[in-house]
Amino acid sequence: MTLPLERKIQVGFGLALAIVLVVGAAALRSTTATVESASWVAHTLQVRADLEAAFAAVIDAETGVRGYVITGDSAYLAPYDSARATLGPLLAQLGTLIADNPVQQHRLDSLQTLIPIRFERLQQTIGVRRTRGTVAAGLAVMSGEGKVLTDRIRELIAGMRDEEGRLLARRSATLAARTREVRIAVAGGTVLTLGLAVVASLLVGREQARRRQAEAALRPTQARLEHVVASSTVVIYGNEVTGSSFSPNWVSENVTRLTGYEVAAAMDPAWWLEHLHPDDRARVLAEIPALFTQGRLTTEYRFRHADGSYRWVRDECRLLRDASGTPREVVGAWMDITEHQRAQHALRESEERHRLLFERNPLPAWVFDLATLKFLAVNDAAVRAYGYSRDEFLAMTIADIRPPEDVPALRATVAHTDASGGAGGGTWRHRKKDGTVIEVEITAHPLAYGGRRAELVLAQDITERQRAEQALRASEERFRALAASANDAIVSADSAGRITYFNPGAERLFGYAATEATGQPLTILMPERFQEAHLAGLARYLATGEAHVVGKTVELAGRTKDGREFPLELSLASWKRGPDVGFTGILRDITERRRAEAEIKARTAQLEAANKELEAFSYSVSHDLRAPLRSIDGFSQALQEDYTARLDEEGRSHLRRVRAATQRMALLIDDLLHLARVSRAELRSAPVDLSTVAQGVVAELRQREPRRAVEFVCVDQARVRGDPALLRVVLENLLGNAWKFTAQRRPARIEFGVSQQDGATAYFVRDNGAGFDMAYAEKLFGAFQRLHSAKEFEGTGIGLATVQRIVHRHGGRVWAESAVDQGATFYFTV
């Protein structure tokens, strides 16, 4: 079937209509026939009923008459009367009923003749009876005439009835045939209609399915289209053109997103112009005529959003004309280009920034062509650093700034970089214009430059850095060697308290191998009771910088690998490198020192006790040894005074010797006490001007022996730190000695001065006196040692011992240079 659906439906409807008409006609005909047949049947039945009634009336009349005949009772005549009354109308009715049938008409005519005759006979009988009585009447009846009449009537009625039955049968058959026809027609029509309906419904169903399919196929496309328009940043609009005025007739819903206004607002003819930026209005309006001349227009302007801000929009529209060329409609697209504008601006800024980044970069930078190695661009720093002008650079290749021997490697590297497309780098030697070769670290990135495959290079001069690194390495090696050979343990740790360095000294001290200890927490080196304080201290130092141990020397306890504890001395330093904090500690086992200290303490206590004893002893000596001397001397003098007359010269001489000896003894005691005091007196420390002291001492000596002519030379301002009283004792002794031993000299000369001896400042007292033999220099400073007889020079031999004791107590030393009769020089340091 190639007919279109509409045609098919029309044909289908035509067919269906025809069938319905045919079936309807058939049904109408059939129904009419049926009604006719049915009325004929009713007619027949009426006829037959009337015939029966007529016959019954005849019989009733006969019966009644007979009853009367027999009885004479007139009551029996009632049926006869009613029959006579009914028979007339009955027969008339029959006449109308069978008027159409001549056969029956004929018979009815016979009946109408016979029945009155019969009734006449009966009337006669009745009359007979009444008049003649019963027998006569009976006879009349028995004559049989009446009976013949009645039989004849019966025959006629039966004939009519049969005729009507025959008619009924014939008519019923006709009705049945008609009914059958109608049924067939209706059934056939129905079947046909049903068939058509099925076909039609199939067709319609198929068509509907096809339509649904098409709709389903169309729906996503439509949804997509709607979505595209709705989600598009481009607003589509239409404007009706009337003459030269526009009025919006359609705008896509996403206008709300672009402008913040609803579609309804945007449809207001004044809306667009009102929201156009005042600064852009004149320009845009001036552009509109071009739309009419060229048929299209693209323009950009600022448009006020509902939130008050202005957005940059691009408006592209086109004019549609009708067949006559009259402008009808403007359709256009409208999009927000604010971001685009901003991006454009940002891009321009970024480009400028990057250009500056290159131009003003403090590191020399250039771009070179990967194919030709020619410089394509160089920055200011490169010009400054390499000495070539920009033009000189641009006339060279990058090989020209290399020492010739490096060029092959350069070409190979560039070729490789070119092939791999990767970024280059590394350390290279560059040659400046003045021939200086520098070490540079290169960072290179491939880029397209003016359509050429090029590479951007940043060069950092690391000559100095490398030198510094080498120096640092050397220094580091020195320190490492130092640390490795140090007797002390040296341990470094990071900020987490983990060991990062463990020298051989530490290995010996703690029993761990360096490989074992490295990476372990420092706590493995300390007894458990110290660990918490260590961790807290470390955390505090890292958090606040507050150090309890760093930068100091403290005594702690250490723990060896086998768990042995020992006292140690730790000096800890922290160092910072970038964000890292590290610690280096020097540790020393002080078990031995602790023991020595304890010993010293004990000895000091002993010494102090001994000193106390000595003090008590000296005190006794000064009192008790002198008392007897005083007695000896005093009473010797009493003897000399009171008994001199009784003594001879020898006796008096003896007494003089006794007294001299006691004087000498007293002197010895005093000097000994002095020596003892010097040894144990508390040493004070104060600035002392030895020159002043020396001059004072000499002045005293001159006062004591004004007759002596001694030349004294004294250096100025020999300032030292020491005990003023004891240093005075030193000078008293040395100058006193000089004074004493120059007694025989004319002129006598004494000098106090300063000289450098073996790198130390030595003070000296020099005289031109008797001097001494250096062979005995050893004995010079011993107590009671004398190099001269008392007869030659008086003295106890304790003075120089005292000097030595004082100088030693000051941490200095004392020595002498001399020769017999050549004078002497006594040096001391403080």
Binding site: Y619, H623, A627, R630, S631, D633, G634, F635, A666
Partner: protein
Amino acid sequence: MKDKVILLVEDNADDEALTRRALAKNNIQNAIVVAHDGVEALDCVFGTGSFKEAPVAPVVVLLDLKLPKIDGLEVLRRIRADTRTKLLPVVILTSSKEEKDVVNGYGLGANSYIRKPVDFGQFVEAVRQLGLYWLVLNEPPPSGTPS
């Protein structure tokens, strides 16, 4: 001048004799009361003990430091602590020239500190000057009047 009593605190009999001799040689005729230890010295000064019956009021005390029972510095301290005697001239006359003795002696209010020289001649000279100063030149404080 003779009624001015000198209290010599000295436990050594030789020294006592020599001191007496030195005083005599200088023609110092004053009465000399000798106390042989610190207790006796204090009894004499305060009129207690054996001096209770016959109190003496020395005008000057020659005080040795090394004494039995109570040593010289303690005697000096007690003399200076008492209002009656705190102005009494006290001359320390001793063998010691230990600095601490000198410092303590003056610190406790000694009027002079003299070291007995071994040489008797020098001793006589010292005593002479001492007597001259304390017995002749010095104007003693008002007797017994607390200031």
